[in-house]
């Protein structure tokens, strides 16, 4: 799968990412690095431990890297989760938000694996 197609499939904006990061190789490099990054696992563990401070930091990082890499859908769901965790007093919707993040993350990571 071409990088441009990947962005299309994950509802990203390839032109915008290219404009910012300039090089496709760089984009691909960091997409793969994102796939290996422990940020998501750390988020899951922090939520499992109900350590909302760490969970917020992980969600914040996840949101940041998604923004950098132009992963808009994953960025939006992680942003929602991040805001929920800000103040370390999440509401009832936390689980569902995390489910959204998890679903989107898995799909994104899966599709990253398909990039040539």
């Amino acid at each position: 799968m071409k990088t441009e197609q990947f962005y299309s499939e994950v509802y990203g904006n390839y032109e915008e990412v290219m404009k910012r990061l300039r090089k496709e190789e760089r984009i691909k490099k960091y997409l793969h690095a994102f796939r290996e990054d422990p940020c998501y696992e750390n988020l899951c563990k922090a939520l499992e431990d109900k350590n909302y401070a760490d969970a917020f930091a992980c969600a914040h990082n996840l949101k940041g890297v998604c923004a950098n890499l132009g992963l808009e859908t994953l960025y939006r769901v992680s942003d929602i989760l991040c805001e929920e965790l800000r103040g370390e007093n999440p509401g009832d919707g936390l689980e569902r938000m995390m489910e959204d993040v998890a679903g989107e993350y898995k799909e994104t990571v899966s599709k990253i694996g398909e990039i040539e």
Partner: protein
């Protein structure tokens, strides 16, 4: 006005007090002299009286003894010795009959023998020849002699002897008299209490003394203790009293002494022909007590009179002071008021204290109050005349007094020559219930009244504006609740629909599209609200070198494409001589975006949008004119007036569901004003709208233009911004982002050192050499220490580059409040996330070069 008490009156009273004081002292001294004189006269009379009494006594004894010696010569010559022996008892018994028994001890010396009262000779009484009386009597040759006081051997008490030798023989008759027998019981003037009388012999010995010590201790009762030891020596009274009384001096006829108790005593003396002395000692207190009493009474009266006079003088002084004060007050009042009238409420009359020229010409100095009121009313502005007349009518003044008011009045308008001015009329009264007079005063208050009226007008305007603002805000919240709820409801509703149709991708995609649209609409609304809120606070424009034509062209390109897509015509033209200027491009873009988006929004399909940029010289400044015109719906005249008012929207098109927050145009107006420019609008309903924006901008220097970094991606790519030789500290906690930023910076030629949190960043900075680091790229949200805190720590370090090294924030939140927070922390610029290579490099380049 009459002065109740003047300075002359006070001075006259003062002189009277002095004269009265002098008279009082003179009278006192005169009275004392009189008292002392009376005392002397009294003393002299008493001592004379006592002396006379004593002389009578002595003369009685002299007569008896004269008779005895004369008769003894006759008896001896006629009857011889036997006749003498027979006659002597008869003579002695006669003495007892005349002077009383045991008063006199009489005996005779017959032919050398001492014959007693019983007619017999005393045995062994030959030593009489040694006695004083015998020797004096022999020498006297028939004259009566008196002995001094001596102690009589037989009776062992003191006695006086009176002796006379017969003229024709050596026979002699002798009387021994005891001192007590000289005591005076009758005829003499009574002595005052506390006084003493002394009878002294020629040698100064006290024969007897009589004292009036107390009312119970009257005549005849010898005060032994007082008499004991008193001895008058010689004829000088001072010698007599030397032991008991201390001589002090003479006063009047008497001599002044002080007795052993220190009491002042005055002595008066009389010498009798036998050499004895009568001495009267009068205690000064006897007289002086009266004098003291008199003096005390006198003093009391004097003090009362003086007090009264001083009170009168003080009262006068106080009255004078009050008079001065009142006069000063009147002067002040005359200075403060242009007219003062004294009004008598009982007589309903007036008196002009100070009158305005026009009133003085119209009415006499005194007269009926109605005359004054009629004159004043004719001068007061017509619309206030009735109120003036009512306020200062006698009836109203009385009713105000009855109500307990101390003063009252009001402001009125009246003619001063040709000009109308505000004046203040006031009634003053101090003790309204007792006095029948009040003061009516007028003061010019035109300036302050006008100022007060202006202040009141401004206040009313402020209140009105505040009410309007509150009303607008209420309207805004009412609208916002609708505007926010609408997209939120869409989002929620469409989300539910999407959930229900998850298995129908086409429908789900449609719902998601609507959700996205509603989300954007909501975001726009929130952004506008935040923008206007931030702009209302102090926002500093970030003026940098920019290409104004390029800026406008870029907007034209974007909106031109949008217009084309909506089948609308778009036309752009520019005529700019100086395109490089100092300006705030983001805010200029915001102006253009708001105007152009409105133009496209309100222009129907087939309509035309025109954008033009012109440069014109205006005095010393260069002004850039941006015109945005369209052939759209236009605006009503009513709406045009409120176009730049926050939260206002054209209601005429409300039914057509045109999006808008009502904040776009107020935002534009605020930014233009901030830039020192102005905006105008012409519009006609159905005929389109023309916005003209004029912004003064400073033209950039040629040298600085050359240094300016490329700002567009294309330019950046073309010019390939390099950061060669620059060392940058990158502080970022997330590995992936840190690696990405490091890679980009290194590709641009920079040397990068990294830190994973703020605290580590501060330590890295400390470890670097001064000036080694060219810039710090600082993430905002980090564990341990965030970016703002780390920046503050770096700025607080005591090294030369701590204050100057550029610190650039990497922040996902690029809202104005976040930027303000970075600025307050000492950061120089911010780069919004996500990372943009061009923006990152140009920002770093600008900040580093800009400080070198």
């Amino acid at each position: 006005m009459k002065r109740p008490y003047t300075g002359k009156t006070v001075a006259a009273n003062g002189i009277l007090i002095i004269i009265f004081g002098a008279l009082a002292v003179f009278t006192l001294l005169f009275t004392k002299a009189m008292v002392l004189n009376n005392m002397t006269e009294m003393g002299e009379k008493i001592v004379e009286s006592y002396s006379l009494e004593e002389r009578r006594n002595i003369e009685m004894y002299e007569s008896i003894i004269n008779y005895g010696t004369g008769h003894l010569d006759d008896v001896e010559r006629n009857s011889g010795q036997s006749g003498v022996e027979n006659w002597l008892p008869y003579y002695f018994s006669m003495i007892d009959e005349v002077v009383g028994e045991d008063i006199v001890e009489a005996y005779a010396i017959i032919n050398g023998e001492m014959i007693g009262a019983n007619g017999k000779a005393y045995d062994g009484a030959d030593d009489y020849r040694e006695t004083q009386w015998y020797q004096r009597a022999v020498l006297a040759g028939g004259e009566i002699v008196f002995s001094d006081l001596y102690e009589e051997e037989n009776h062992r008490h003191k006695a006086i002897s009176i002796a006379q030798k017969c003229k024709n023989s050596s026979n002699m008759i002798v009387f021994n008299i005891f001192p007590d027998k000289f005591r005076i019981y009758t005829n003499a003037i009574s002595m005052p209490e506390g006084s003493a009388y002394y009878m002294c012999d020629s040698d100064g010995k006290i024969i007897y003394e009589q004292k009036m010590t107390t009312s119970e201790d009257k005549w005849g009762k010898r005060n032994e203790s007082a008499a004991t030891g008193i001895s008058f020596m010689g004829s000088d009274i001072g010698k007599y009293w030397g032991d008991l009384y201390r001589f002090s001096g003479s006063e009047g006829e008497g001599n002044i002494y002080y007795n052993e108790r220190g009491e002042k005593t005055i002595a008066y003396t009389r010498e009798m022909k036998n050499g004895w002395h009568s001495i009267l000692a009068l205690p000064e207190n006897f007289f002086m007590e009266k004098w003291y009493t008199l003096r005390s009474v006198y003093f009391v009266v004097l003090v009362l009179i003086f007090s009264g006079e001083i009170f009168t003088v003080l009262k006068g002084l106080h009255a004078k002071k009050r008079g001065d004060y009142a006069e000063g007050t009147i002067d002040i009042l005359q200075n403060a008021f242009f007219a003062l009238y004294k009004i008598n409420l009982g007589r309903e009359s007036y008196e002009i204290i100070k009158g305005s020229e026009d009133v003085k010409k119209a009415i006499p100095k005194e007269g009926k109050y109605q005359w004054l009121m009629d004159t004043m009313c004719s001068m007061v502005a017509e619309e206030m005349r009735e109120e003036f007349a009512q306020s200062f009518s006698i009836t109203n003044i009385k009713s105000q007094i009855a109500a307990g008011a101390k003063d009252y009045g009001g402001d009125f308008l009246r003619l001063f020559g040709e000009e109308k001015k505000w004046f203040n009329g006031w009634i003053l009264f101090s003790t309204p219930k007792e006095q029948d007079e009040v003061i009516l005063c007028f003061r010019l208050v035109d300036t302050e009244k006008c100022r007060r009226l202006e202040q009141q007008r401004l206040l009313e305007e402020s209140v009105e504006k505040a009410n309007e603002s509150v009303e607008k805000q209420q309207t805004f919240f009412s609208r916002m609740s609708h505007d926010m709820r609408t997209p939120l409801n869409i989002i929620i509703g469409m989300s539910e629909q999407a959930e229900k149709h998850l298995k129908e991708p086409q429908k789900t995609a449609d719902y998601l599209k609507k959700i996205k649209y509603a989300g954007k609409q909501l975001l726009t609304l929130i952004n506008d609200i935040l923008d206007i809120s931030m702009l209302k606070q102090t926002v500093e424009l970030d003026e940098k070198i920019m290409d104004i034509r390029e800026c406008v062209e870029q907007c034209a390109a974007v909106f031109g494409a949008q217009a084309k897509a909506q089948k609308k015509q778009f036309q752009f033209s520019s005529s700019v001589e100086h395109q490089m200027v100092y300006g705030d491009m983001p805010h200029l873009n915001q102006i253009l975006q708001n105007l152009l988006s409105n133009a496209i929004k309100y222009t129907p399909e087939g309509g035309k949008i025109m954008l033009s940029l012109l440069e014109k010289e205006d005095r010393e400044r260069t002004v850039y004119c941006i015109r945005v015109a369209d052939t759209g719906r236009g605006m009503s005249e009513d709406y045009l007036k409120k176009l730049f008012v926050e939260y206002e929207r054209e209601k005429r098109f409300a039914s057509q569901a045109v999006e808008g927050t009502g904040l776009g145009m107020p935002i534009v107006k605020t930014i233009v004003t901030l830039m020192g420019g102005n905006i105008s609008v012409k519009s006609k309903l159905g005929n389109g709208t023309v916005f003209d924006v004029e912004i003064p901008l400073k033209i950039a220097d040629e040298l600085e233009i050359k240094e300016k970094p490329p700002e567009s991606v294309e330019q950046a790519e073309e010019k390939d911004v390099r950061l060669d030789g620059m060392k940058i500290l990158l502080v970022e906690d997330y590995d992936l982002n840190r690696e990405l930023a490091t890679e980009i910076l290194e590709e641009c030629g920079a040397e990068v050192c990294t830190a994973t949190n703020g605290k580590e960043g501060v330590e890295q900075f400390k470890l670097s050499k001064e000036g080694e680091l060219d810039a710090v790229l600082m993430d905002m949200h980090m564990p341990v220490m965030d970016g703002c805190e780390a920046s503050r720590c770096i700025r607080a370090l005591e090294r030369s580059d701590a204050k100057t090294v550029p610190i650039i924030a990497l922040t996902a939140n690029a809202y104005q409040e976040d930027i303000e927070r970075t600025r307050k922390a000492g950061m120089n610029a911010h780069i919004p996330k996500p990372i943009d290579v061009t923006l990152l490099c140009t920002t770093l380049w600008t900040e580093i070069k800009g400080r070198k």
